[in-house]
């Protein structure tokens, strides 16, 4: 019985740690997320030279894009 209680308490150590880390990560990824609407909006507003448009392949990697969670991720990859 005592052992069970001990094990429960021990399991709690990791659970507490995980809860704290999760909270910290949630805050960080939100504040760091490079996918806010502002980034996409800013990119859309940036005028693109006609010659640049011609250089860009239409949908060369269309198969990959479908697997991405959203188009914002693609924008980020391209910015990089």
């Amino acid at each position: 019985m005592a052992r069970e209680a001990e094990e429960e308490e021990e399991g709690g150590e990791f659970a507490d740690f995980l809860a704290d880390v999760s909270k910290e990560i949630a805050q960080r990824v939100e504040s760091l997320d490079p996918t806010p609407k502002a980034v996409a909006a800013a990119k859309l507003k940036t005028p693109v030279a006609p010659e640049e448009r011609r250089k860009t392949p239409a949908v060369a990697d269309a198969g990959v894009i479908v697997e991405w969670p959203n188009i914002a991720d693609r924008l980020i990859e391209e910015i990089r």
Binding site: E10, F17, V21, E24, E30, D73, I76, E77, R80
Partner: protein, 200 residues
């Protein structure tokens, strides 16, 4: 080392437990491992000599699951504390995100603690890290030993903790202070995700 990757939705943090031989680095990892729920228990890799000293390093991968849409992994390492494994310590420090310095509280081990701390700073500098700014937490281990055999926290702090980083009293063999230390270094490492230097 990249700790947050928005492309692959992954967060990876490498934490290294550093300190003199027999200070309790492996014991820290063993306690963390013992507390993991079965479904999260991967393999803890320990390469030890016949006398149970860490020969190469210990490695404990901590898969924390998906947090806020990111697959989150912590990699916990120890280094061999014995002086003659200097090359291994440098190798393990490559790509480190945070360091836990596990000091042996025994008064007679003070010189070894100082030597190991100096070794840490030199190796960090060699690997291109700034020893003054890298996330660091001190753990003063073996606080369960008789009072006459150990230095006071204040003395240890004054001698070893000149950066004034968070410090914790520990008795890793019973688990005391282990998760507090891990939580502290994790928070420090994660707080650096906001620093531009973490990309790459």
């Amino acid at each position: 080392m990249s700790v947050v990757n928005y492309g692959t939705r992954e967060i990876t943090c490498k934490i290294v437990y550093y300190g003199p031989g027999r200070s309790g680095k492996t014991t820290n990892l063993q306690h963390v491992y013992s507390q993991l729920p079965e479904e999260r228990k991967g393999k803890m890799v320990s390469l030890a000599t016949e006398t149970d000293r860490t020969l190469f390093f210990d490695f404990l991968p901590l898969d924390l699951g998906t947090i806020s849409g990111f697959a989150t992994r912590f990699q916990l390492y120890t280094v061999p504390g014995q002086v003659y494994y200097a090359a291994t310590r440098k190798l393990v420090l490559q790509g480190v995100d945070g360091v836990v310095f596990v000091a042996d509280s025994q008064s007679r081990q003070l010189a070894e603690n100082i030597e190991s701390l100096q070794d840490l700073h030199a190796n960090l500098a060699d690997e291109g890290f700034d020893p003054r700014t890298i996330p660091l937490v001190m753990q003063y281990n073996k606080r369960d030993l008789p009072a006459g055999e150990i230095s006071s926290i204040e003395d240890l702090d004054e001698t070893l903790n000149f950066r004034g980083v968070p410090h914790y009293a520990g008795a890793a063999i019973s688990g005391r202070g282990v998760f507090e230390t891990l939580r502290s270094i994790s928070t420090l490492v994660l707080s650096r995700l906001s620093a531009p230097a973490t990309k790459g």
